[in-house]
Symmetry: C2
Subunit: 464 residues, 2 copies
């Protein structure tokens, strides 16, 4: 946990931003796998972590803005439970560390809220993402699940606060990155032809766990790098493949890292791989150089796309004017998603609060229709303290090529003929994490090797 | 998956048992961790696995008993999704393997059910344990969540079927046990003073994952064996400690294993440990010897308790008449829980359907009040084909002793004075898995060493 004052200050600021009424924050539960008492690892809700730092299931927190008071609702263990779980720090002790003086039984929450509503206080709450909390929120407020209306005032207040990372939060993220860089180095050391993808995925997960870190998200470790959400990890690695490793650790306090590297399964890239790798790396460097306050991330995204197109033209896979190609979204045949996203207590930071609030503004809302842009999670003007990922890529997706080619789509920009010999190429992504500073940006965490030369020089020590 | 005929036969039998109406089985979803698209590993609902073997999220199955037809409701991937996930076996192909000819979009389910209800068909469904399915079931049926009424007819039909394991199911469980025995041997090889509990827990999890097996439940790996649900894994192991390892793997098809061993962190048990270990092992052997059809598991549980009491009397921790002590529940100061439970597609098999249905009968219902018996998940008469665990233990829980002693509770059976020197003893559990045969029982899986001598002989090769 951070200091007591940290949590007090964060709540104080939140109260000021919200102004009046009650703020209700629901914690997470231990979610059932295949029956109620066989549960997934507990993960506290990130907003509750941010304002209270308390990592126990089945609690809710209320901030009574009008009366400058906060209460945590939750139950202490009774002796029957202590028989099963052992003596533990009490909820009251945990609350004290977060600067909370009052705790009440969870069962008192409903009556408490009803009294508040009756007395005319408005109850502000967030969009629930776990079904348990949808039901709970409906029970607590008497509003049917379908009509639950999260408070945009509260969402905006929280997003504005959580978006600007404190120094101690940056230090946590760099802790997550230290573990993540080690995970990636381990993957680059151990990968050999004949292994299965999952051998690597399990080893890095095991390494992180031994450091006390769960993974911040299900790792993508695949020779089919073009499959963006690849859960299948049973391919056998062979010479000529590239392995894409997108994985990051989470600290004990809940802060995430999110790194991607793509490297050859053998000691070296093929000429074709090397060529496209350089295109992605150039796009990465071009995007990184533009990171600074007062630029929108959407501009940087579009610059990165242009850079990709220039490279793809040089390779002969695209043609025409790069700017024009990007404006017509021709690059989305190769780069179907966004350049990056906010990162913090969530790997996609605050995604539960809504991408529109986190990544966009009312004046410049998210484009939810256009292929490519609809997957760009962050578009708005950057500010000092934002932490984000930069992750351009090239993904050769046969099904998508077939569909475009059948329509002869944007053939003024795409060399479909030449593309044919890349059909089984796979995918490349390079991803690092940055904080926006007053003048530009700072790479977070230790530098992880990323040029093709550096990767090959490293790999040749471990595979021949 | 098993053969197509297996699933067809299982459904055919279920139809016969239920007789009429519609059977609705809901599959599981990918549950959110900290936002909707960051999800826990998917685990299909076990009943859906049993009747269909289909491991994809967001499906539901209907068996129209009146019209002898089954339909799976679920959506095929569209091209937008294939861009993200790659081409995969279609739902229709998966259904074909399960002998299902008709698939419909998930969105068609509600109208389908409404038509059926309107035409007078009764819809039978199971108790939902995941909150998502509580909401879904309420939406589908129009019944408020609090009033959802699962079909006891359907529950009884499924319990009667799933309780008797087929040979191919036994083979799956033995596959899970093969991995689990290897996990336990690994733990017994690697454990050394100075390590942390979690080092062992992570290593066995990693081993199982590499065999393609997730763990069937969160592993309990602890030097505080008396804490029955110990999630804390940060104790440093030291000479004199015993490590309790309760962990089991799950096969790709979903079948579980559940083994416990307790062994010294150093090369040998202390005299005190050895003495109580022998008491638990004797109780285990006594219970095992009684496994056979037509005996109730409750009788075997009580015999095992009596055996524990006899041992504890010999050691000087209890006194008086063993039978009398057990009938007054005096043993529950040392053995607070049940002797075992059913096992199969769930580690506590079918616990989502209700312990009363799975472990008891209407004539001899579960005792839900008495400390000790209220934690006995299985009480009814055993039948050939039942798969169950036998897991007696001795748990020295200081908080419980203090409470009993303050009341001078059952002091005619407990030597509180002598117990004082055992206050920090910890806990011992020994657990294996068995199938009930026509004449008795058969140990499932390879035999895992369990006498104190065998364990010490093994351990001394790895720690000195």
């Amino acid at each position: 946990m951070f200091s007591t004052k940290t949590y007090q200050d964060r709540r104080e600021l939140l109260q000021q931003k919200v102004g009046s009424g009650l703020i209700l924050l629901l914690g997470n539960i231990e979610n059932p796998i295949n029956f109620e008492h066989n549960t997934y690892p507990f993960r506290q809700d990130s907003t509750l972590l941010y304002y209270y730092g308390i990592k126990v299931p089945n609690i809710a927190a209320v901030i009574d803005v009008d009366n400058q008071q906060t209460i945590v609702f939750g139950d202490e263990l009774d002796i029957d439970q202590i028989v099963w779980t052992g003596k533990q720090e009490t909820l009251q002790e945990k609350c004290a560390k977060a600067g909370v003086k009052t705790t009440l039984p969870f069962s008192a929450l409903q009556a408490y809220l009803h009294r508040a509503i009756k007395s005319g206080q408005q109850v502000h709450y967030l969009p629930p993402y776990q079904s348990f909390n949808k039901i709970l929120l409906s029970d607590l407020t008497g509003i049917p699940i379908g009509n639950i209306t999260p408070s945009s005032l509260l969402i905006e207040a929280i997003v504005s606060q959580r978006s600007i990372k404190e120094h101690q939060e940056l230090a946590e993220i760099e802790k997550a990155l230290q573990v993540s860089v080690d995970m990636h180095m381990l993957a680059m050391r151990m990968t050999k032809p004949g292994m299965k993808e999952r051998d690597i995925a399990h080893a890095i997960q095991h390494y992180a766990a031994d450091q006390g870190s769960p993974l911040a998200y299900p790792p993508i470790v695949t020779v089919r790098g073009e499959i963006l959400h690849n859960a299948y990890q049973l391919h056998t690695l062979k010479y000529g493949d590239m392995l894409l490793n997108d994985s990051g650790a989470e600290t004990e306090m809940g802060y995430a890292a999110d790194l991607t590297r793509t490297f050859p399964v053998g000691p070296a890239f093929s000429a074709q791989q090397r060529e496209l790798y350089a295109v992605v790396l150039k796009s990465f460097s071009d995007a990184r150089a533009r990171l600074s306050p007062h630029v929108t991330f959407k501009e940087i995204h579009l610059h990165a796309c242009e850079s990709l197109v220039e490279g793809l033209i040089a390779v002969g896979l695209m043609k025409g004017d790069p700017k024009e190609a990007v404006s017509q979204h021709a690059h989305t045949l190769f780069f179907q998603c966004g350049l990056g996203h906010m990162m913090g207590l969530d790997v996609h930071d605050m995604e539960d609060l809504g991408e529109q609030y986190v990544g966009y503004t009312a004046e410049d809302p998210k484009d939810t229709q256009t292929f490519g842009l609809k997957s760009l999670r962050l578009g708005k003007k950057l500010e000092p303290g934002f932490v984000l990922t930069v992750e351009p890529g090239i993904y050769i997706i046969p099904e998508l090529i077939d569909r475009w080619q059948a329509e002869n789509k944007l053939s003024e920009f795409i060399n479909y003929d030449r593309l044919h010999s890349y059909r089984n190429f796979g995918g490349i992504r390079i991803e690092d994490n940055f904080v926006i500073t007053d003048n530009g940006y700072r790479l977070l965490g230790p530098e992880l090797i990323k040029t093709a030369d550096d990767i090959e020089n490293f790999r040749k020590n471990y595979v021949s």
